[in-house]
């Protein structure tokens, strides 16, 4: 039986077109040969699938016909979950809103620029604060050290701290800030000629940030008469003042005015002065135009530019008086005769040269 014939038979068999005898014969054949049996099943499955496929197509067509009658568009509009009106407004009009916002920002900026608001002090203040912010990391490092070691100033290239001090007696008493020598193991002072002398801390008044050192070095010779006096009375506002100190290795001069009779947060200990001061300036004498010591340079406020402080000289005087007599070999004779008064500023500074020292602090 060839393939074609067999196929014919299978179809007739499946369609029930066989006579009873043929049917019996074919079923017998099917039982005998599994190959024929598989063929029958296969053909049955295949035609069934073909039928199902066409049924599916028909159903899809029916459904499509039904679907075409539905107004999907309106329905979709109705059923869409609508976001809040703000979001919708943004979605529908975002380009317009963006343009409007840009114009508004531009207009505001233009008005600010034209009215000078941009260059007002407020703006400058902010810019300066940013600058201070940049410096802050650096100062924070210093501050860390300061909290451990007091507010002593730091030298750039050595591990010690340093500040400035000035002689108050010819036998080697030096006034400086307490924060300069706070926590020191040993203190040296260096004169303008570059010669160092060992000094010891004689007396301190931490609350007033004042320290009195005494040069104990055997090589130290008497300084000679101190040319300046220490002023008892308080200086007036706007009085011209200057300072002379060692923020670097060479002496540094700067001048300014007394800008306030009170210091930080209204502290009556300090003057505010308009002299720019730097680390290392601490302990420098603040002189008035006649060559009187009116204060000791103390520090500045990091948050604000141009706010610098100096301890009033009256506190220095009281500190000198408070030195216990048993720590002194000799009674302190403060100079009462001011030899700088008649001199020009240049000459005053030249004279000061010998009496202002670098205070070096070792720890």
């Amino acid at each position: 039986m060839n393939e074609y014939k067999l196929q014919e038979e299978i179809e007739r068999y499946l369609n029930g077109e066989m006579s009873p005898e043929e049917l019996i014969q074919f079923e017998l054949l099917r039982k005998e040969s599994t190959a024929i049996d598989t063929k029958v099943n296969e053909h049955q499955d295949f035609t069934k699938l073909l039928k199902q496929y066409s049924d599916r197509l028909a159903l899809e067509n029916r459904l499509n016909a039904i679907h075409d009658e539905i107004d999907v568009h309106t329905l979709a509009d109705e059923l869409m979950v609508h976001p809040s009106w703000v979001v919708q407004l943004w979605r529908n009009h975002h380009s317009k809103i963006s343009v409007a916002a840009s114009i508004a920002i531009f207009a505001i900026l233009s008005v600010m620029f034209l009215t000078g608001k941009m260059t007002s002090q407020d703006s400058q203040y902010i810019q300066l604060r940013q600058e201070v912010g940049n410096l802050k990391n650096k100062t924070d490092k210093i501050n860390q050290k300061l909290t451990q070691n007091g507010r002593a100033e730091r030298s750039v290239n050595t591990e010690r701290f340093r500040g400035t001090g000035f002689a108050i007696t010819s036998n080697g008493l030096i006034a400086t800030n307490y924060h300069v020598i706070n926590g020191a193991d040993s203190v040296y002072v260096q004169n303008a000629a570059g010669k160092s002398f060992k000094a010891k801390v004689l007396y301190t008044e931490p609350q007033n940030d004042i320290a009195i050192l005494k040069i104990v070095d055997t090589s130290f010779r008497n300084l000679g008469t101190i040319p300046y006096t220490i002023k008892k009375a308080e200086s007036d506002l706007a009085e011209s003042v200057y300072t002379y100190g060692y923020p670097q290795d060479a002496p540094h001069f700067d001048e300014g005015r007394v800008t306030s009779a009170v210091g930080l947060n209204g502290d009556s200990l300090d003057y505010q002065i308009s002299i720019a001061i730097n680390p290392g300036n601490s302990g420098s004498p603040l002189m008035d135009s006649r060559g009187n010591v009116v204060g000791i340079i103390q520090g500045k406020q990091t948050q604000l530019e141009g706010v610098h402080f100096a301890v009033k000289s009256s506190y220095l005087l009281s500190a000198i008086h408070n030195i216990p007599s048993d720590s002194l070999t000799r009674k302190i004779n403060l100079n009462t005769k001011n030899t700088l008064a008649g001199l020009t500023r240049v000459q005053q500074v030249k004279k000061l040269n010998n009496y202002v020292f670098i205070v070096k602090v070792y720890q």
Partner: protein, 189 residues
């Protein structure tokens, strides 16, 4: 949902009987009644109205076949069944398009229908094979196959339609066509 649509929603048993009896009107009422629900699901979950149509029709076909096959037990509301099937199908479609954000916005209660969907999926693969096989078969074989096996025309009718001189020629032609169709069908992976 529209009020008039609600009014015309056929009851669940009505639908089953209607489909078993090939009632066109019941099928239509059912289709119209539940489409908005599916549309709502799809368009609010990153889909379009066309996606909704595809998904919904697939679901209706699943339901239809299940009822026709006689193994449909109404264990839940028909509405829930349709919604669940559509939800499942849409999740699958979304993940294929990798547009699924892991979260679907639901509007109805739903149940597990994974089995139904898988079964349907197998059938769909078979059908798409058949479709492409028929496509490749070309005329006049395709029409002969359709006429004989689908429309159950006799060989005599086919003979006349295609102008064969005798039924034997037509039979030989039909045999060759069937062999080719089978070959094309089973060749596909």
């Amino acid at each position: 949902m529209n009020k008039e649509l609600k009014d015309s929603i056929p009851t669940d048993s009505e639908v089953i009987l209607g489909i078993l009896n090939n009632s066109e009107s019941v099928l239509k009422r059912m289709y119209v009644a539940y489409f908005p629900m599916v549309l709502q699901l799809i368009i609010n979950n990153n889909g379009t109205a066309d996606d909704a149509k595809d998904i919904y029709q697939e679901a209706v076909i699943i339901l239809y076949n299940k009822i026709k096959a006689g193994d449909f037990e109404l264990s839940s509301k028909l509405k829930t069944f349709i919604y669940s099937i559509c939800r499942r199908l849409w999740l699958k479609r979304l993940s294929h398009m990798s547009r699924f954000g892991g979260d679907i916005r639901d509007f109805q209660e739903h149940m597990h229908v994974e089995d139904e969907v898988e079964k349907q999926n197998d059938m769909d693969i078979q059908f798409s094979k058949m479709e492409s096989a028929l496509q490749l078969l070309g005329e006049p074989c395709k029409t002969i196959m359709e006429d004989f096996y689908i429309h159950n025309l006799s060989m005599q009718d086919i003979c006349e339609r295609f102008g064969y001189t005798n039924a034997d020629n037509a039979k030989t032609q039909k045999y060759k066509c069937l062999q080719r169709l089978k070959k094309l069908f089973f060749q596909q992976k």
